[in-house]
């Protein structure tokens, strides 16, 4: 840093300032450098390796010896019915997670966005699930869903909605919903906290005026509240999408992707390929598919956001 500035010594202080409002033009790179070096080393290098691996046949037991196979891994996974099912499951899981967590978060935020006694305690308690470690959540959820002694089955039986045999995580029909409920339980605190703060920005006098004018609650919500919180909802949806595509622990610990592949998402498939089947090449190819999907989602969300902004101007 010092060296760089010394080479620029002939330039006057004033000229330097004029060129960039905040120090020399190297300044941003100086701020950037430590984090960039760190990310390149611990994310970039491994990622580059994974991209390479996805074009090879490589065993977990001998990861330094790879055979180049070109696009074979990609051809293999896309020709595989099970992989198509995995993609479908991932889609269902992600969409349901996003809709469920943002939807329930919004409902809870609206509920808590009122003045009532004990609001502080309510807000604090509601956020507890988010702080609970994934492995602890998986353990208690599995125990609560235990077919014979789980409290969930006992409750469902008591109200007459019991599942035959009580098998929930062991049933191709109910396993995915059960995992979804657990995931959303963990996510809704985060979405509701963020949306609750976004709701503070809604001008009170506007909603009050609308209500005075006899507008229905739904109309007020759509015309005023929704317009203010829309960007936040969009951003949350994007984050939830990306995080749901890569969620691992909860599903792996609860079902390992079973039964009959009914809860097998991309990441579960990836892990199984890499560590059960020991096929690092196939696993890397699956990982790349996931990354490309996420990139498409991001690009799509940018387009939608831009479109929405244009519409707003009109």
């Amino acid at each position: 840093m010092t060296v760089l500035e010394q080479t620029r010594a002939p330039r006057s202080e004033a000229a330097r300032r004029r060129r960039s409002p905040l120090g020399s033009r190297w300044t941003p790179y100086v701020f950037l450098a430590p984090a960039a070096a760190f990310i390149i080393l611990f994310q970039g290098v491994p990622l580059a390796q994974e991209i390479y691996l996805s074009f090879t046949r490589t065993s977990l037991l001998n990861p330094t010896r790879s055979t180049w196979v070109g696009l074979e891994n990609y051809a293999h996974i896309f020709g595989d019915d099970d992989f198509r099912r995995t993609l479908r499951t991932t889609l269902v899981y992600v969409v349901a997670c996003v809709a469920g967590s943002v939807g329930s978060g919004l409902l809870v935020a609206l509920l808590l966005n009122r003045n009532f006694r004990g609001r502080g305690i309510a807000r604090a308690l509601v956020t507890v699930p988010w702080a609970a470690p994934g492995i602890a959540v998986a353990l208690i959820a599995t125990w609560m869903l235990n077919p014979q002694y789980g409290i969930v089955n006992r409750f469902l039986n008591a109200i007459g909605l019991g599942v035959p045999g009580g098998t929930i995580l062991d049933s191709p029909t109910y396993a995915l919903p059960a995992i979804l409920v657990t995931t959303i339980w963990q996510l809704f605190p985060l979405t509701s906290v963020v949306l609750l703060s976004a709701l503070q920005a809604v001008p009170k006098d506007l909603t009050e005026a609308a209500t005075m004018d006899g507008a229905g609650r739904w109309w007020t919500f759509r015309a005023v509240t929704w317009q203010v919180i829309k960007p936040t909802v969009g951003l949350l949806a994007l984050l939830m999408t990306i995080w749901s595509i890569r969620r691992f622990e909860l599903i792996w610990l609860m079902t390992k992707g079973g039964p009959v592949g009914s809860t097998e998402t991309l990441v579960i498939d990836l892990y199984a390929q890499a560590f059960d089947s020991k096929q690092l090449g196939t696993a890397a190819a699956i990982g790349m598919v996931g990354v490309v999907i996420s990139l498409i989602v991001i690009a799509g969300s940018r387009l939608v956001a831009r479109g929405a902004a244009k519409e707003g101007l009109r």
Binding site: L22, F42, L53, W185, P189, A198, I242, F248, A274, S294
Partner: protein, 276 residues
Amino acid sequence: MNRLHIGLTLRIVAVLAVMGIAVFPLYWMFVTALSSDADLFASEARLWPDFSQFGVFVDALAEGETVRWLRNSLVIAVGTTAMSIGLGIPLGYALSRFSFRGKVLTTVVLLLTQMLPEALMVVPLFSLFNRFDLLDSLIGLILANSAFVLPIVALILKGAIDGIPRELEEAGRVDGARPLTMLVRINVPLIAPSIAAAAVIAFFHAWNEFVFAVTFIYAPETQPASVGIASFIGEVGTPVQTVMAVAFMFTLPAVAFYLFAQKYVVAGMTAGAVKG
């Protein structure tokens, strides 16, 4: 008047229901830990804790292992938090305040890293860590976890700095302050809530992380709690009460930390999220 009354009652019921749903699984963890075998496998559920079984917590703590696991988790979580905040502030600042070549690329790369699952990176990171002699050390886990949370931390902080009027810095520059000084003196205090929010995210990530920890750690001395709990799941049997007791003690510090930082988090998350 009557309708209003019903609405109020409904709302109170709804608030109580949401609170119940949020807290019940943790309560149930506690109750399960404090159940005798007979209660656990009875045909009727016991809905309240049996405090005569409190020995399960005492035993778990007396073993010494639990305390060591929690301490290791704490070191990893605090280290990751410090590291990612320390690197994230300058990165967020650069992204917010400067226009430079490669800025869009940097932002895209940051978002991209948010999509990489740990499971994908385990094998290449393992060989990298092996080369740098970082296996079986808490430092290694701190570095690995920091790499995974740094991007989101930086994005949150960038959003927060975006929200600070540039005029405040203009004033500082007239005084001849340099960028680093300005960042530390002017911006950092103003974005304190967002730093708290980012810290919470980093802390939770590292506190909970399992995939790296289980692969990179061999020695019992360096094992964190997430792996420790998994080690109770045995081939022949799993002691449900002990697992739940340890899981509960594993959950409490995270919840306590969250409740402590909560009021900053709410403010910070908004600053980061809304401006994104």
